[in-house]
Assembly symmetry: C2
Homo-oligomer: 199 residues x 2
Amino acid sequence: MTDKNQDKHKARQQKVKEQVDQKVAEANIEQGILQVITGNGKGKSTSGFGTVARCVGHGMNAAVVQFIKGTWECGERNLLENAGVPFAVMKTGFTWETQDRESDTQAAQATWQHAKAWLQDENIDLVLLDELTYMVSYDYLDLDEVIEALNNRPKMQSVIITGRGAHRRLTELADTVSEVRNVKHAFEAGIQAQKGFDY
Amino acid sequence: MTDKNQDKHKARQQKVKEQVDQKVAEANIEQGILQVITGNGKGKSTSGFGTVARCVGHGMNAAVVQFIKGTWECGERNLLENAGVPFAVMKTGFTWETQDRESDTQAAQATWQHAKAWLQDENIDLVLLDELTYMVSYDYLDLDEVIEALNNRPKMQSVIITGRGAHRRLTELADTVSEVRNVKHAFEAGIQAQKGFDY
């Protein structure tokens, strides 16, 4: 690279750095973050579990509530439970495998009690409410009650909500919202779900 | 809920289940998956690290290559290194903090050697190439060489590539592509990055 190009590159990178530094300096509110990860793409729950791993890696406390439990064994759960993360998992497995609205509602309500307790616990730094969005869409949980619990949680506690079709009131309440869009999926090309990757 | 509504709900859920079951039955190719997680939203690397946690939780082997290392301590790394995951981390820190194209290129090339070795290792089930996209965009790495290494990897090995602006040749090669779109970010509302959540 010529000296001139090197100088241009340096100037451009310097500008990026200044913009980032300025944003960091301006962001001075200290509080827990409510993140919603929605959309039809792969990686929403996985992102949530990744943040739980990060939290635990710092020696902080996280708790996980899974509102839809796959029928497969869950690798993350092994690792994170061994690291001391409490899990509350809804008992009925995949919602579309049970097909019973009454029992699904009861199971969702029972699981929500764990979430509610953790959302009041100052010792929990991060609560992952995995696949909660469906419980709201299906009316298994009362949205007002969910929002009240989120609003009344300890000030420094962060919460992650995952799942497709997040209700607008949840995304409005959230500080950070990411939408994971499916561009393409191996499944569509006939590739089987792989242990250690997909489940 | 009336009996009629319960029946309608049951029929709808049964149809969803049948569609999912059929897709699962049709997906019968056994091979490692190449996933690209791109877009401007939060959670790309975190999703990659979540899959690494899943893999390790199953007692399988993963390796992590980080092409951009934040200046913050990394919680995931603590947890995953304790679980036996090898890390190769590019030495120069944030690219826009070093601003030296020659040394960045050398650092990227050195880090890439670790990636190349793991992409030939049948004992590694999953390789995370975190933030690799930037190395390609900045021409720090040769795209042809990256693609050749991906194509020649062990058949059952899965690979995850994260970062904004993934090159079209990478997304075309990938089996699964997710785009994480930023809907809103706490940062923009002045909320500081929180330990255990953002880093």
